[in-house]
């Protein structure tokens, strides 16, 4: 006997073969896969299976225990229900995404170590976003994108936490983790993002209403519940979760009362319900954990039912705002009835499953001696009744008749809803089908006590009275409920502005810097250099050259006026002397005689005066 076949495999294989099948076979596969996936769950033996060694890391794909099994079961079941509900659809891709999504959720639930958990976690994120996109509303794409962003953010936080954890402890197995420190903190944050925890919860009411009618079932089921599963697994008894959970519960509730969009209202409701579970995990007692798990499972069922009901309304009418709807009870009686079953379940009306699980959580809070927590949770239960079970159906199914020409939805939808309703009721009256499979089956919890009944009825009646008193006030309004998504939408816009503004400027700046700060000054400098070269250096050279030529003028002048003048003067003197001599050449003997005499006289005198020196000179010359 095979001990272990990973149920996610069915989904993945299904997703893989789906595109290649014709319509009949495809529908068969659609229904068959979730059913088939239940089989291995039945045969699964508890323990660790499917250990894979990748890159030196042990990946545990199959840790089978009560906690994982019970989630897996419900995933299979709701998968089947969802497939039935969406049976009529001809689209393939949505189903592929749904299968991958479901497979991811399955995988995450069975993941025994943090790596494989993260692996499936991411698969979930990336497949679920397609479901939102397949919604086909104008806002789907944007909402899906935001959804994906936030989930990626949560995912990376988780990854960060995982890494820190693994590095710090050297242990990658997924068990209880201390919520303090970076590792725990980041992982907790990552889980809470998926659980719709504040302040990043806004993805939930933002994205879920934009999914397709059928797709929303899957959405409402997997992401948050896997998150609850991981919280239960990882952070049982983390004190902080109580406060987070309470906040979620009340905040979600508050928003439901204000909300007009019917699926958005339900989405807030999911937050509120998950808040219960988170609180329970925070309380951390065995009962509380049981309650959390039970409530998660119930929630999957009744929330699926509610979503299916409203989905049917939307599917038939094409309208999604409470103000536009009304009086549908006459034309869609089955839908209305089934919806009411879901409504009763969620608000904890006895004999419906919510009664059990909510009771478990509230009593665990009481047992933990947390009166305020108990009180607030109780209050929230009445609020739930008020909004989901009374206000919304009243406005949609009763209320002012808008005379919409619709009928009940196609049978497969009815069947899907019915199946869910049956489960709700069945688990409400026979809770041990559930409680036996809870992680702590030994814990005794008796839901059907008198006090529980009484308290619950009181609460519900109070809520009913309030509703009747304020029925007019609770008429739907055209509201725009502000939520934290406003912040991150604005932040997104702002961020894009930032990206388009300063960052772009920075980027342009970098590019411009090269032009302006490097190229342009270089060009400028080059021009400067050019000027320097021609204007200064070359000019100096030319000036020197000119100076040299100026010098040549000078020397020319010198030559002309000094050197030549000297020679000329000598010439002139010579000339004059020659003239004199010529004049002396009189031919007159007298004159000659005179000259001879004077000459002799001079010579003699010279001889007399210089005779000695001359003699010495002559001697020296010799």
């Amino acid at each position: 006997m095979i001990h272990w076949v990973h149920p996610a495999l069915f989904f993945f294989i299904g997703a893989a073969i789906l595109p290649f099948l014709n319509e009949t076979k495809r529908k068969l596969v659609q229904l068959g896969v979730p059913l088939l996936s239940i089989l291995p769950l039945y045969y699964a033996s508890k323990g660790t299976h499917g250990v894979l060694n990748v890159m030196g890391q042990e990946l545990i794909f199959g840790r089978v225990d009560n906690l994982s099994l019970v989630f897996a079961f419900i995933f299979s079941i709701i998968g089947f229900i969802g497939m039935v509900y969406g049976f009529h659809l001809k689209t393939v891709r949505e189903h592929i995404a749904a299968f991958v999504y479901a497979g991811g959720a399955m995988g995450a639930v069975f993941a025994g170590d943090l790596f494989s958990l993260f692996l499936f976690w991411e698969i979930m994120s990336f497949s679920s976003v397609f479901i939102i996109w397949f919604g086909g509303y104008s806002r789907s794409a944007g909402a899906g994108f935001r959804y994906l962003l936030i989930h990626t953010f949560g995912g990376v936080m988780l990854l960060g936490g995982i890494i820190v954890h693994v590095v710090n402890t050297g242990d990658a197995s997924f068990g209880a983790i201390s919520p303090s420190g970076w590792a725990g903190g980041l992982m907790l944050f990552g889980f809470l993002v998926n659980a719709g925890g504040p302040p990043l919860h806004a993805w939930l009411p933002d994205a879920y209403p934009e999914g397709s009618v059928t797709g929303t079932i899957w959405l409402a089921t997997f992401t948050t519940k896997v998150a609850v599963y991981t919280l239960v697994r990882g952070f049982p008894g983390a004190e902080v979760l109580i406060y987070v959970g309470l906040f979620m519960t009340l905040f979600g509730l508050g928003m439901t009362i204000l909300e007009n969009d019917i699926r958005r209202l339900l989405s807030y409701h999911i937050i509120s319900q998950v808040g219960y579970m988170v609180t329970a995990v925070g309380i951390g007692s065995e009962l509380a954990l049981n309650g959390a798990v039970a409530h998660a499972i119930n929630n999957i069922l009744f929330k699926g039912l509610l979503m299916m009901g409203m989905g049917a309304v939307i599917y038939m009418t094409g309208k999604r705002k409470a103000t536009e709807l009304g009086g549908l009870g006459k034309v869609m009686p089955i839908t209305a009835a089934l919806y009411m079953i879901g409504g009763f379940s969620i608000s904890g009306v006895p004999f419906f499953n919510g009664f059990i699980s909510k009771g478990m959580i509230i009593s665990s809070a009481a047992e933990a001696h947390r009166p305020i927590t108990t009180l607030l949770l109780t209050l929230a239960a009445s609020g739930t009744f008020l909004s989901t079970t009374l206000k919304l159906p009243f406005n949609v199914f009763v209320g002012r008749d808008k005379r919409l020409k619709v009928t009940d939805p196609p049978p497969n939808m009815i069947i899907g809803m019915s199946l869910a309703a049956i489960f709700c009721f069945m688990l409400g009256v026979q809770p041990h089908y559930l409680t036996d499979y809870l992680p702590f089956p030994d814990v005794e919890y008796h839901a059907f006590t008198m006090s529980h009944f009484v308290i619950q009825f009181q609460i519900l009646l109070t809520a009913l009275v309030v509703f009747l008193m304020f029925v007019e006030k609770l008429r739907p309004h055209e509201t725009i409920s502000l939520d934290t998504d406003w912040f991150y939408r604005k932040a997104g816009t702002f961020f894009m502005k930032f990206a388009n503004g300063p960052i772009s400027i920075w980027e342009e700046f970098i590019i411009v810097v090269y032009k302006k700060a490097i190229i342009a000054p270089t060009k400028w400098f080059i021009v400067l250099c050019q000027k320097f070269d021609t204007g200064v250096i070359d000019r100096i050279v030319n000036e020197i050259g000119r100076g040299v030529f100026g010098g040549s003028w000078f020397s020319n002048a010198f030559e002309k006026y000094v050197v030549y003048a000297f020679i000329n003067v000598i010439g002139y003197l010579n000339h004059i002397a020659a003239h004199i001599l010529k004049r002396l050449q009189t031919g007159s003997v007298h004159n000659y005689a005179m000259m001879i005499i004077i000459g002799i006289f001079i010579l003699v005198n010279l001889y007399v005066l210089l005779g000695d020196q001359l003699i010495q000179f002559m001697v020296a010359v010799k």
């Binding site: 080059i526 250099c529 050019q530």
Partner: protein
């Protein structure tokens, strides 16, 4: 006389005076050409002369003995014996490549001149041949007087080349060229004479012989004086900043062959002078002047490059790029280590090849379009793909693209310079960068983009001779770029000899008991 001629033949290691033949064959043919008038014959003779010279010079490469710093192929002959002037030629690792470069480029220039010279063709060839003789002689001369003599004679043909076959402002340019060089060479002569007299006073023998002068020590102060004098001689020729302004003018106005020879070999004479004379003869002064020279080199690099970026005239651009490139050579030489000097020498060769190549390219364009204005061109690659291809390779070589010869030189220079002085060498990288900028920009402006100018649409691509010229250059570029080791090995021991000489004095300067203390203190004071 006959016996001394016999001496020449006996001295050479090849068995015949290969250097003298290399040097004087062009001259002889030039003389012969006086009596020839047929243009074809002139071409034939000219080509024959340069080719012969080139082939002989390749013998130098083939028979060159590596691993010794000694002069090789030495020929020595008393010339003016009473004054100690000899005809003494020889090559070592520093000069042998330059000799071959000269003969090589001469062949190419002569081939280039096949057409484009429309008047005085005979005189033109004679000028080229005489120029070749003198330049080879300068690179071979081991006698300072012979060196100086050839150095001066070289001016003549160059002057005529610019003056007769030059552009519009040829008178100005040629005069500037000659005056500049003469001014420098006069100072150089004074420096030589000081060396000469020093040798005489030390040994009692008059000698201009370089190898003799090596043996005579010179006091530090004298070295500084002589260095300064020689500096002007060489720096004007290189030209170093700020003595460069003759170069753009001369290049722009000179005919293509003039530019080629001017850039290819004449400029090397300056840097060659530094390596041949300044460093080994005046090691202390060289050390002393290292900061100044390096800074001038770096300024030259950046300044030349920046100015090249500013030019609109292709030739002027390349002329300024020469200043930049020779700045590298100076930087390398005055790193005073073997990498730097080797790089400097290799860079001389590179610059000779690549810048000549660029001038050839410009010459091709000019022969076709008769303009050198960059704006007139653009998108030519489509019209003249072969030219564009060669142009690209040569440009890359010039900008020191890895795989071309330019890179080897620049790498070695920068290694040497960085080793020598990090902070001075660092700005040189800007020069490296700018070299890429101006050359590629030039290429882009001329060759790429749209072929807008209708005149350019009639351009013809290179003909067979032109392709031959370019191919020869590109082969050398790639050979030296990819496998430069043989060239480096040739000059290795000569360079080591020089660096050893310099290093020896540096060591001496470090030891305290020496008259070089003065220098040392001066160095310390210098910023």
């Amino acid at each position: 006389m006959l016996s001394t001629l016999g001496e020449i033949f006996a001295k050479d290691q090849l068995g015949f005076s290969v250097l003298s033949f290399t040097i004087f064959i062009p001259l002889l043919v030039a003389v012969l050409l006086v009596f020839v008038n047929d243009e074809k014959q002139i071409k034939k003779f000219g080509l024959l002369a340069t080719l012969t010279s080139f082939l002989l010079s390749t013998l130098l490469l083939i028979f060159f003995r590596e691993g010794t710093p000694d002069m090789q192929f030495v020929e020595r002959l008393d010339w003016i014996a009473p004054l100690g002037i000899t005809y003494h030629v020889g090559v070592d690792g520093v000069s042998v490549l330059l000799v071959v470069l000269t003969t090589f480029l001469s062949v190419l220039t002569l081939l280039f001149s096949w057409k484009g010279i429309d008047h005085y063709f005979k005189e033109y060839v004679i000028c080229l041949l005489v120029l070749e003789t003198t330049v080879i002689g300068v690179f071979c001369a081991l006698d300072l007087f012979l060196f100086f003599l050839l150095w001066e004679i070289m001016l003549l043909p160059m002057y005529f080349l610019i003056k007769t076959w030059g552009g519009a402002r040829r008178n100005y340019a040629s005069l500037k060229f000659v005056l500049y060089t003469l001014l420098g060479s006069v100072m150089m002569l004074v420096g030589f004479v000081i060396l000469y007299l020093n040798h005489q006073s030390a040994t009692g023998i008059y000698s201009f012989d370089l190898l003799d002068l090596f043996k005579v020590p010179l006091t530090s102060e004298k070295q500084i004086w002589v260095f300064t004098l020689l500096f002007f001689g060489f720096a004007f020729k290189v030209p170093m900043f700020p003595f460069h302004t003759w170069l753009p003018d001369a290049h722009v106005e000179a005919p293509t062959t003039g530019s080629v020879l001017l850039a290819g070999v004449l400029l090397k004479m300056g840097t060659y002078g530094f390596v041949r004379f300044s460093l080994p003869l005046l090691p202390e002064a060289s050390t002393y002047f290292v900061p100044l020279m390096s800074i001038l080199g770096v300024i030259g690099i950046i300044y030349g490059a920046l100015l090249a970026l500013a030019q609109n005239d292709i030739k002027k651009l390349i002329a300024y790029s020469s200043i930049s490139h020779l700045g590298f050579v100076i930087l390398g030489i005055f790193a005073l280590n073997s990498e730097g000097i080797q790089g400097g020498i290799i860079q001389m060769i590179n610059h000779g090849i690549s810048t000549s190549g660029l001038f050839f390219i410009v010459g091709f364009l000019y022969n076709r379009r008769h303009t050198r204005d960059i704006k007139e061109y653009g998108g030519l690659a489509k019209q003249v793909p072969i030219l564009a291809g060669f142009y690209l390779v040569i440009s890359l070589s010039s900008l020191a693209f890895p795989g071309t010869n330019g890179f080897v030189g620049e790498l070695l220079i920068l290694i040497g310079a960085m080793k020598s002085n990090l902070y001075i060498a660092a700005p040189a990288f800007i020069g490296v960068l700018l070299a890429g900028a101006y050359l590629l920009w030039l290429y882009q402006r001329t060759m790429m983009g749209e072929l807008n100018n209708p005149e350019n649409k009639k351009l013809l691509d290179l003909d067979r001779i032109e392709i031959g010229i370019c191919t020869a250059l590109v082969v050398v570029i790639l050979w030296m770029g990819i496998y430069p080791f043989p060239f480096l090995r040739m000059m290795d021991s000569s360079v080591t000899f020089i660096t050893d000489r310099v290093a020896a004095t540096q060591k001496m300067a470090e030891s305290p008991k020496n008259d070089t203390l003065l220098i040392q203190s001066k160095i310390n004071q210098s910023p």
